[in-house]
Structure formats: C-alpha cells, structure tokens
Amino acid sequence: MFYSSREWKDKSVLVTGATGMLGQSVVQLLRNATANVTALVRSASSCPQSCKALVCDITDSDALSGQLQSSSFDFVLHLAAQSQVGGEEATATFQSNISGTLHLLEAVRTSNPNATLILASTDGASGCWGGFKRPLAEIIDIGPYAASKMCAEILAHCYASSFGLSVGIARLTNLYGPYDRNLRRLVPGTICSVLQGQEPSFRSSPATPINFLYVDDAAEAILFLAEQVAGGRTTLRTVTVRSQKLMTLGEMVDAILTCMGRSDLRPKSVQEDDAMGGSPASTPIEVGEDWGWRPHVSLEEGLKKTISWYQQKITE
C-alpha cells in the first residue's frame, strides 16, 4: 500500500462522484482509514450510506461555496465526470466536466483555500486525445469527452497557478472493476454477456492494445497523490496512473472467459461507428514519469473481484 492510513485518520474529505466506479473504491479506502467522508450529491437519496451527504448542484458555485464554508475540508477529491458519450449528450459532457470543475474549484478557492484538491483526469490513451504532445493548433480530431477533460485540467492549472490552490491531477488510464454500470464498455459488457450465457462481442478490433487498471489500484493512487500534494512544496502535480503493461482487447476477453470458466464461448465482432472517443485508440502509450506509485492488484485478482460483484448484482 502506498497511501498511509494514518494520514487519513479523522481527515475531512469531500468526494464528488462517490457513487461512480472510482468513487466507490475511494470511499471504501477512506472509510477503512477512518476518514470523515462527505459525498457531494445532487440528492440525498443518491448518497452512499457510509458518507455524509452534501446536497448541492455542483454548477452553482455560490451555493457550493456557502456549503463549503460551514465545513472545513482537508481534501477535495473531484472524481465526478460525465464519461464517454455520443449524440446529443455532448453538451452535457461540457457542462458537467467543465462547469462542474470550474464551480468546484471556485468554491474551494473562496471557502476552503487550504484544502488539497485532486482532479481525476484521463491519460489520453483512450479516445481522441491525439496525444499530449501535439500543439493546440494542430489538434483537430478531439471528442467531447477528451476536450472537456483537457479543459478541466486547464482549469485546475489555472487555479493552482493564479490562486495558489494545491492541486493534484491524476491522469487515469482505462479502469475496470465493480460498480461500472456502463455495459457498453468491454469488461462489464463481456462479464454480463457471459453471466447471461451469451457470447461476448467486440465493438473495436480485438487486436487493439489497451492499458487496463483495476479500480482499487487507481483509488490508492488518488490517495497517494493527495498525500504528496498536501505534504509537498509545489502547488501543482500531474501524474499518470496506469498499469505496467498493455494487453489487447482480445486478451482481456480471453482472460475474463478463463476466469469465468467459459473458454468455450467465442467472442463475436460488432463493428460500430464509435469514433467519438468510445473506442480505444491504438496510439502508442508513453510510459509516465515514475512518481513512486505502482499498481499491485493482478489481472486475475482484479477480474475475480469484478466478476463476483456482477454475479451478486445479477442474483439480486
């Protein structure tokens, strides 16, 4: 374990996106470390049981500021994000990922300026980033998700540099694990197909290389980064959070089938026009800077935990 439970004991932590895949895992770690966890939620009914609820619209920074003023948070973990979308939801992606991040940063600046804020971003391996290294002027093929997450990073940079907020940016790779309810994604889609006795299907080429990381590893990285930023001298730190090797989509499906004892099933290919960032790109993945964190959950272990969650959900 890289993060330290002692660091988090009795710390006051605000989490956005607490009900999401990453959020669930982060909240669990925080609970284990006996931190005081508050979830920022739209309605009290959507608050995880283990958290206090802070009911507020994230795009209303005045209301959010007021709420934050009365509680002094040591950490704000911004994990909420509208993820990959198509169709008319593109605007909602911008609203949630840009406006949401903006108003949260502003509320923290005005009412909890000493808090450490962590932004969950994307490593750009999936979707249409076109890589981090290209100059802005040349970026043309960029989807709404990638564009909105890049904007969120720009916002975080700006608030760190212009207003001195302590900010950590975690560029996360493709996560898998329990609580992922988006069955269009490969791992949940495959598991649920198999649980229903159906052949799994690929939406992209099975040869596409992908970096998969188990969600608990990512959650530890978030806490580890938060500790580093809180204890560090710089106001801004950006790290890459990914597993140490690539695997193809085909290999992932094979691993799931093996794990579920259904190697007899033959996956089928369904080609979709999914060019707006739903499909993983085959761009070579750069090895990020070594910042002292390593994943430690093996693929087998991660898949077992993931599969058992879906089994439980299906029997419920």
Binding site: F94, E106, L136, A137, I139, I140, C158, S161
Partner: protein, 378 residues
C-alpha cells in the same frame, strides 16, 4: 445600401445576408457591425449592454442601424432563442470576457463567458439550421501557453496561467471539438457546418475605452491632462488596427460558406512581421499627433522581469489560402486612431458612424490598391 457601399468581393457575398454577431457592443464587435452594415448585410447583434461610457457602439448609433438583442452568451436559452429567430447565414462569435485583470477578479464569469458561451453559441448555430459558416474569435493569448497543456513543468512561471488565457485555450478546444466532422455526424448533424477559430494580435483603433489597454489609457491621459506612465517601454506587441483582423474574419466566413471543407482549423490574422513597434515608440508617435498637449510620457520600468516575450503570429495560412494580408502600417493605424478620437473629442455626442465608415472605406481602398482579393471585384 448607401453611397459609400463599395462594390467588391466582400459586398457581393454579404449584401442581403443575415449575419449574427455576438459581442457586438464591444470595441471590435461595434466596428464589425458597422462594416457589415456598410456591406449591405442584415446584422443581428447579441450581446450584453455596452461595456461602459463612452463606447463605440453608442457613439456610432449602431442601435439604430442593426437589430440588437440584449443577452448573455452564458444563457443557453437566450442564445438559442436569438438564433432561432434571426436564422443567420453567417455567425461571427466575438462575445467574451476579454480583460486579463478582470479574469483574476472573476474567474467564473470569465470561464463561463469564454468557454460555456462558446459551447452555447456553437450549439445554437448547429440547431437553428440556417447557418453556413461560423467564425469563433479567440485570442493570441491561447498561444502563449501553448506548451503547458501538453507538458507540465514544475518551474513554469507564475502568471502564465491567468484565467483569461486559460479560458481562451479551453474555448479553442471546444471549437476544435465542434468543428470535427465526425463529432457533427455522431451528434446527429448530417450536413457539415464549417466552424473556424481565429486569432488576432493586439487590436487598436478608435472607439476603444477598455481599462488596462494602451490606446484608451493614452486618450484618457490626454483628456484629463495627465501624464502617461509606461512600465515596459521596450516590449514590442503585435499591434494592428481593428480593421485588419475584421477583414480576415469577414473574408474567411465568406470563403467557408462557399467551400465548407476547405477552410477549417485555426487562422491567424496578425500584423506584418516587419512592422513591430515598441510600447515607447507607439505611445510617443500617438502623443505627437496631438501636438503640444499637456500629457508627457513617463517611463517607470518594471524590473520584475514578468514581461512576456514578443509574440508573433504566423499568418502564412491566411496569406496562402485566403490571399489575406495586413494593409495598414502602424503609422497609418495611428493616423486613423488619432483622427477618430479627435473627431469624437472635438464634438462630443456627435454620431461617429460616418467617421467609422469613412475609415472602413479608406482601409478598403488601400486594400484594393494593394490588390487584395476581398477588396477587389472578381
């Protein structure tokens, strides 16, 4: 159409077209509306109240000459309603919170206006069904930080990430996303809508009264008989008269409407490289034009080293594809500027529209002499 209307490639495109200009009450927007009016376009403006008193929008009585809709680009419904009613052929999106200092005071307003405002305008342009071309105006500031999104460095100097520049980088990303043909298709729009973004240099001209900008500061100093203090006399800026980038925006939109696939991406409309002036030279040239005024130039050099380096905009793309070039030298621009303010100060409350139009005509004539396609007749 009035007598001043000149017959050229711009007017043959814009005559009778409905053009929606956001931010039309601002300095740049007001000049653009006057020009479009002169070209015979039906102009619909969507903007907040003019930024303060005085301002070129009111000084040129544009409220009587165009259709002006009071509204905020941050308000999605207002924007949508305006577009649906106007059914514009061309959209020129200028509305922005454009002041760096203001962006520190109110970062939320700045990001809302410059980023979500752009989202709202582009969505409205897609949905209203009539638009043939959108030109979104950003700033050269989005370039200053070109590297920082891609490669973060711990030792980056503070202040390089001011909210204004950051908001402009975000709005560039939004435009890139919306202009992508796959994005348009996936989001349910089969007919491709060309969207481009443009950047200009430090725009100067008559009728600017914004805070913290050099020309308005000089004019205020002259009016108040105060000295003008400059802190970075040796810094050079890509100064250009407001009509320079406006000619680029107008010609670009016309070409985009003609050939939607050909003119995508970002466009720079900056001054000629050989015509870069220092702050000191520019200020003293302008002061000279007022004769023996009670305003002196004082230099209090800022030794903090925070001054940013010279910014140059590479305008090769605009030259190659649009045949666009800068027309006025800084000297000519300063002549036009001092003429404008002198006319205004000589007779406060007069209608400045004739002065604005006569400067547009002078500029167009000069461009025609130089053989620029937009200013000539094909």
């Amino acid at each position: 159409m009035d007598m001043n209307n000149m017959d050229n490639n711009l007017s043959s495109f814009y005559a009778g077209k409905t053009v929606l200009v956001t931010g039309n009450t601002g300095f740049k927007g007001s000049w653009l509306c006057a020009w479009l009016d002169q070209l015979g376009a039906k102009v619909v403006g969507f903007a907040l109240e003019p930024p303060g008193q005085p301002n070129n929008f009111e000084a040129s009585r544009l409220i009587d000459r165009i259709t002006h809709v009071n509204g905020n680009v941050c308000n999605r419904e207002e924007v949508g309603r305006c577009f649906d009613q106007a059914k514009p052929d061309v959209v020129l999106h200028l509305a922005a919170q454009a002041l760096v200092r203001q962006s520190y005071d109110d970062p939320v307003e700045t990001f809302d206006a410059n980023v979500m405002g752009t989202v709202n305008v582009l969505d409205a342009a897609r949905h209203c069904g009539s638009v043939k071309a959108v030109v979104s105006i950003t700033s050269d500031k989005c370039y200053r930080n070109q590297n920082w999104i891609w490669g973060y460095r711990e030792n980056d100097e503070l202040g390089g990430y001011d909210p204004y520049s950051a908001s402009k980088a975000c709005s560039e990303l939004v435009v890139r996303c919306y202009s992508d043909s796959r994005f348009q298709k996936v989001t349910g729009f089969d007919e491709f809508l060309p969207i481009a973004s443009t950047r200009a240099g430090n725009v100067i001209g008559g009728g600017d009264w914004a805070r913290d900008r050099i020309i308005p500061d000089i004019v205020r100093a002259i009016v108040n008989e105060e000295d003008i203090v400059i802190r970075s006399p040796n810094a050079t800026r890509p100064w250009q008269h407001v009509l320079e980038p406006l000619s680029g925006y107008l010609w670009l939109a016309a070409k985009m409407a003609e050939d939607p696939e050909k003119y995508l991406g970002g466009w720079n409309f900056g001054p000629a490289d050989e015509d870069m002036w220092t702050v000191e030279a520019m200020v003293s040239e302008l002061l000279k034009r007022w004769g023996p005024a009670n305003t002196a130039l004082k230099i209090e050099e800022d030794s903090s080293g925070a001054e940013s380096k010279l910014l140059r905009l590479d305008c090769t793309k605009a030259q190659e594809y649009l045949g666009w070039r800068a027309i006025w030298s800084v000297t000519e621009a300063l002549d036009a500027i001092s003429d404008w303010y002198k006319a205004f100060l000589h007779e406060p409350g007069r209608d400045m529209y004739p002065v604005v139009i006569s400067q547009i005509n002078q500029y167009t004539n000069r461009a025609a002499e130089k053989g620029l396609t937009w200013a000539t007749k094909s």
